[in-house]
């Protein structure tokens, strides 16, 4: 666990450094989801950075593409591509697009930006896996704000219809979106009941608690006959006190001063962990 926490801490530092260098991008979501990404790529999922497109790999797709800084940082730290390339985020001639471009980088499974599409793509991948009787699994990472889109619910229905137990949705329930608190923009509650009524196996966890996240992923893998949806309750901006739970950090990067302050906090957390 400590190893995973240290990795997530490093990924958070990468995210801050990338965003301040880019001068634009999203802060809160990537920081909040750093633990889930770490749990998947450094522990649970069957992936191999040396063979990023191995046929038998688990597929991890990101539907809320705007949090891609955390995807890039996780892949780089895991060895999919050089960490130094992270600083090219959002710059000209970079492979690190502002929103992900499928297969432009090793490990980037899907293009995403318009919300909900990754959810649909994930269902398609899981259908292919079932058709070919493959053992690989699909993890589709979504967000709560994204669930305002109708096409996510179309995907849930299809996943349940075809009993895609090789598919696990992970919903970042961080309660913020660009214009404000999620349930003020569009009420989602009772979210768990809604998802259950769509015939999904639903697990609620603290998305910033490795033990809970890994347990849920384990349970999802053992569930037969239906897809799982993990509602990962995360703290947006996690690890940077002045960003935590403030929707204004959804869609902006830190300036130099703020980045320094954030990195100081994250480095202190690292020392405390060691």
């Amino acid at each position: 666990m400590k190893e995973l926490m240290l990795t997530a801490n490093k990924i958070r530092q990468d995210v801050i450094e990338m965003l301040v260098e880019a001068g634009s991008g999203h802060s809160a979501g990537p920081l909040g989801m750093a633990d889930v990404f770490t749990a998947l790529y450094f522990n649970h999922a069957r992936i191999n950075p040396k063979k990023p497109w191995d046929e038998n790999r688990d597929r991890i797709v990101l539907s809320n593409g705007h949090i891609c800084p955390v995807w890039y940082a996780t892949l780089a730290e895991r060895g999919f591509f050089p960490v130094r390339e992270l600083k090219t985020l959002r710059k000209i001639n970079s492979r690190l697009q502002g929103h992900p471009h499928a297969r432009e980088l090793p490990g980037i499974e899907n293009s995403g930006g318009p919300l909900g599409q990754g959810c649909n793509i994930g269902v398609g991948m899981a259908l292919a896996g079932k058709m070919d009787k493959k053992n690989w699994r699909v993890y589709a990472l979504l967000s709560d704000g994204e669930l305002n889109e109708g096409c996510d619910w179309e995907a849930f229905m299809l996943a349940a219809k075809y009993e895609l137990d090789n598919l696990c949705f992970i919903i970042d329930r961080n309660n913020i979106q660009i214009e404000g608190p999620s349930d003020k923009v569009m009420p989602l509650e009772p979210l768990k009941k809604k998802l259950e009524s769509f015939n999904l196996h639903v697990i609620e966890v603290n998305g910033n608690d490795f033990k809970q996240v890994l347990n849920a992923l384990e349970k999802a893998g053992k569930t037969k006959g239906m897809p799982t949806a993990i509602i990962a309750k995360t703290t947006p901006g996690k690890g940077v006190s002045f960003m935590e739970n403030d929707y204004k950090w959804h869609g902006k990067p830190p300036n130099k001063e703020e980045a320094e302050k954030a990195l100081k906090e994250l480095r202190r957390q690292r020392t405390e962990l060691l």
């Binding site: 297969r103 995403g112 909900g116 599409q117 793509i121 269902v123 398609g124 991948m125 058709m131 219809k161």
Partner: protein, 318 residues
């Protein structure tokens, strides 16, 4: 050019959607990667022939075109060759954002079947008459856009887009239309074919308007006007060479399509001819919506038939 010898007699009529249905069924027998998706319209798109033969490779997504397009991208990224089938008004109509990012930006190997395109859908009315789909597809990078002129060409196109890696859009009609071509008529994606040689005016047409163009040319021949008729089935990639050649030869072009003039096949031809400025007349939908009616009534009222082409030829010769 080898065309159906009975072209102007009792010509056989088949809807282009049947050609797709036959083609995908045929290909499905040997290519196990082909998967067909339907949004509750398998029978009318003719995907049901495939569905009946290969139930395990048929996915019914319900009335959900966006999800169908996105799921197809996921299937393609996992090695499948998915066919997304619906009416063109819904797909690529409603599913365009998914087509743009999940399919085209990704360069996913998805084949999009837009059935019931054009005003000839008839009594269903304007909501169901796709007259904009060429415009919204031909602007998308990586996407091939094909509009076959008859059922046989639709079958050939279906087989050809399977061989071509990457996203392809295939536009089909509901109504029975004359089978113009034969098995020997050449077909290649990206290659327009001269179906009738002529000297005075070039009629460049696609889809159901190719037959109307041939009818118009035959009529005009009686008046001593010698028309060249080009089957421009490939909207993208467009055959610049053939278009420039025919325009240089006759110096006058009439385009004909069952689609809005703005942004359609004629506009694509005009973009090519900007390199070689040529007088052009456009036959197509003139910036308005359709209405209910019999296909033939609608084609006449909205001026997308041989008469409209003849009128355009006369105008350009004035």
């Amino acid at each position: 050019m080898i065309l159906n010898p009975k072209l102007f007699e009792e010509v056989e009529k088949t809807p282009t959607r049947d050609g797709y249905g036959k083609g995908v069924l045929k290909a499905g027998k040997t290519n196990k990667n082909i998967v067909v998706l339907s949004a509750d319209l398998a029978e009318s798109t003719r995907s049901h022939w495939f569905a009946e033969a290969f139930p395990k490779r048929f996915i019914e997504v319900g009335v959900a075109e966006q999800n169908m397009m996105g799921a197809a991208a996921g299937l393609a990224l996992s090695g499948k060759i998915p066919f997304v089938s619906s009416y063109a008004v819904f797909s690529p109509g409603r599913s365009w954002d998914h087509l743009r990012v999940a399919v085209c930006y990704t360069n996913a190997n998805v084949k999009i079947i837009g059935a019931h395109a054009g005003i000839s859908v008839g009594p269903d009315g304007a909501t169901h008459q796709a007259l904009e789909d060429i415009a919204i597809t031909r602007v998308l990078p990586n996407l091939v856009v094909e509009v076959p002129c008859d059922a046989l060409e639709a079958e050939k196109t279906t087989l050809a887009i399977i061989k071509r890696k990457g996203p392809c859009y295939l536009r089909l009609g509901r109504e029975k239309t004359p089978v113009i071509t034969t098995n020997k008529t050449p077909f290649k994606i990206g290659k327009a074919e001269v179906f009738r040689e002529g000297r005075d005016v070039s009629i460049i047409a696609c889809g159901s308007m190719v037959y109307e163009a041939l009818l118009a040319a035959q009529q005009l021949a009686k008046e001593g006007i010698d028309c060249e008729v080009v089957n421009n089935h490939s909207i993208k990639p467009i055959d610049e060479k053939t278009i420039l050649k025919t325009a240089r030869k006759t110096g006058r072009v009439v385009t004909a399509e069952e689609h809005q003039v703005f942004g359609g096949m004629g506009s694509a031809v005009a973009e090519v001819l900007a390199q070689h400025p040529t007088r052009i007349e456009f036959v197509g939908m003139l910036d308005c919506f359709g209405e209910s009616g019999k296909p033939s009534e609608l084609m006449a009222k909205y001026k997308m038939d041989s008469k409209a082409i003849i009128k355009a030829v006369h105008k350009i010769l004035q």
